[in-house]
Symmetry: C2
Subunit: 428 residues, 2 copies
Amino acid sequence: MTEGIQGNEFLKLVPPLQALKVLSEFGGLEPEAAEVADAVGRVLAESVVVPHDYPPFDRATVDGYAVRSLDVQGASNGVPATLESIGRIEAGRVFDGRVGPGQALAVPTGGVLPRGADAVVMVEDTAEVAGGLVEVYRAAGVGRNVLHRGEDAGEGQILLVAGTRLRSHHIGALCGLGIGTASVVRRPVVGVLATGNEIVSPDQEPGPGQIRDVNQHAMAAAVESRGWRAIRGGIVPDRLDELTASVAGLLSDCDVVLLSGGSSVGVRDLTATALERLGGRILFHGVAVKPGRPTICAMVNGKPVFGMPGHPVSSAVSFELFVAPLLRSIEGEVFGLGEMDVRSWPDARMWPTRQRALLARRVASVPGRDEFIRVRLRRDAQDRWMADPVPGDSSVLTSVVSAHGLVRLPAGLEGLEAGSEVEVLTYG
Amino acid sequence: MTEGIQGNEFLKLVPPLQALKVLSEFGGLEPEAAEVADAVGRVLAESVVVPHDYPPFDRATVDGYAVRSLDVQGASNGVPATLESIGRIEAGRVFDGRVGPGQALAVPTGGVLPRGADAVVMVEDTAEVAGGLVEVYRAAGVGRNVLHRGEDAGEGQILLVAGTRLRSHHIGALCGLGIGTASVVRRPVVGVLATGNEIVSPDQEPGPGQIRDVNQHAMAAAVESRGWRAIRGGIVPDRLDELTASVAGLLSDCDVVLLSGGSSVGVRDLTATALERLGGRILFHGVAVKPGRPTICAMVNGKPVFGMPGHPVSSAVSFELFVAPLLRSIEGEVFGLGEMDVRSWPDARMWPTRQRALLARRVASVPGRDEFIRVRLRRDAQDRWMADPVPGDSSVLTSVVSAHGLVRLPAGLEGLEAGSEVEVLTYG
């Protein structure tokens, strides 16, 4: 079995979009109720319907005078309309009278439009004149500078659809509508585990041939920086029984497990064997992408388990391209994961931080798989954004540390000339 | 005084880049020590120097055979080099022998390069043959597939400069170097306060003319979604004494205070007067930007206090354009805040989430100030990104709720034609 996987590995690389399609088929997590005030960044499990008209009354949208539109028809600087000023109403108060023909009532921004009036003229287009009069220098059609009851959001209308990740504006709108709780999807919990006989904890002094753990902590930080919870499973040696037991333990507490294996063929086979021992089904074993090729994904007890590449750069790229989208998807976010377009992948829904730039020097690429090079961004003397490729292959940790982002070289390309316009997928 | 501010308001609008320059002059918060494992998203207060060479030994970067480069010179499929296979070393172990002339030692990815060897040939370019021999089908120059000690990061070199916001990759690298704590800048604490006689709490039923608080909660959520801490100061009526006392109270606990005033002129004057009462100096009172014009900034006891616009859309835009950059700046992040370019502002450092698109229909714009319109993104039949302007002015809450991002119409422009290529500043 192990031999079989090893021998056929290069034949079995899946195209990246097929890997995403496979990942998009994992089911979502269950919904839970959340206080709206604490729900920024959460994903709606159910659409939110507007419970009552908003605003709840006709409001002035500027400081000015509530008038009857007919009374200011044709008003101009040369020929102002002159109206009787009948007073002033404060925000939060309702005028108990009525604006009659030839009358004007001063209203603040946000104030209730008084009965009788059908428009508001801006204070800048008026002047108070002697005798309790106000001159109006500009016409105002019916409804001018008024936000009518329910015009912003009408009762029964869908305000936000299920699958939306709540931004601060959404929180504000929910508060404005008096919606105190929302049904959101539970946040995923991700177990991360480092494997490798040569790996020691960062707080240990490595012995000869040993090296400190990078990937477990980088993966946990990547999970936590997006608001998800990470459980650090520690470091396990390259032994099938211990690896199997550790994965089983993490699976009982987590929705997704990430194994940072080594990048050696033997270790990758060990990971695959451990996942099969746990009754897992290998969904893909290697992706046609560089770096990130030796990414394994299995379904164990219905949960996704990834064998991540051992090189830190490969692990980081594979996290961004495959793991983060999977986590967003099981958290209920709808962003077209299973239907990415090969021309534009990863698109703005999948990777929103990006910057157009000119490639500062030629880069070569291996045709047949998508390649992601690391670049640094800078402004040149003509104030154009330039992308400088960062030297070092995927074994070089600092090549991702110093990068501002990635540039995709599509599978069909043999490279890109200096001066080519590229879209840098930035780290934000 | 109040009259003076009101009367001169239109003369006193500052250009947005001048407002940013003023904001960039606020000093940074103090540093504190943080555990690296918990430091993702924090900003480095001091540069980090590499404490010892990384990797700590010469490592193989692929699975293969450690050889002497001279022994495989000119090797090819037709004329392989045949070497004596002297065994296999595991990751984490050091070979206690030496690779002599004509010999090869199997090494895994990440394994220690044995003494005597100066290159690694990939396993894919070799075959084991009878008699304990290995055939090599490809030459490997000195250092091929080897990452030398200190080649990734050399002792004494600067790994990360002060002002860097730590990403997951940085956390991984710090762990790999055994750096357990880092000096980071304290996170800002932001007080938010709603003002207005007409405003009631979201959990209250509004009476006639009243409306539920949107902005306090939207601003708090915007603060918290970026990892900063918000203190909700509640709702205060439009009364100078209460407003002054509430701001003073928040200032004692917070680094920055945001007042969500109404958008009426009277309320804005009240805010300015309260800030002056507290000994504050008004830094700007109105910005030449739409929406977001009635944004006030004062320095009170050395701390920035903002009077934010009352319209929810204006408040949201002003937060993104002015408040968030100020907070990043006092948190120590270096991103060119005081030196933005008028052509490219807000650039990718200031607003990293963006997408090129074609404007779906013509939009008009008022020359003389930068305007930000709300748009929704979609793919058209030819798979191009199209930006549809969202109807509704800045008093319409749902115009920002349903938007995917903003498009800037620079101050000199009278509008943009349908089909124009625009850069959408997306909400990520």
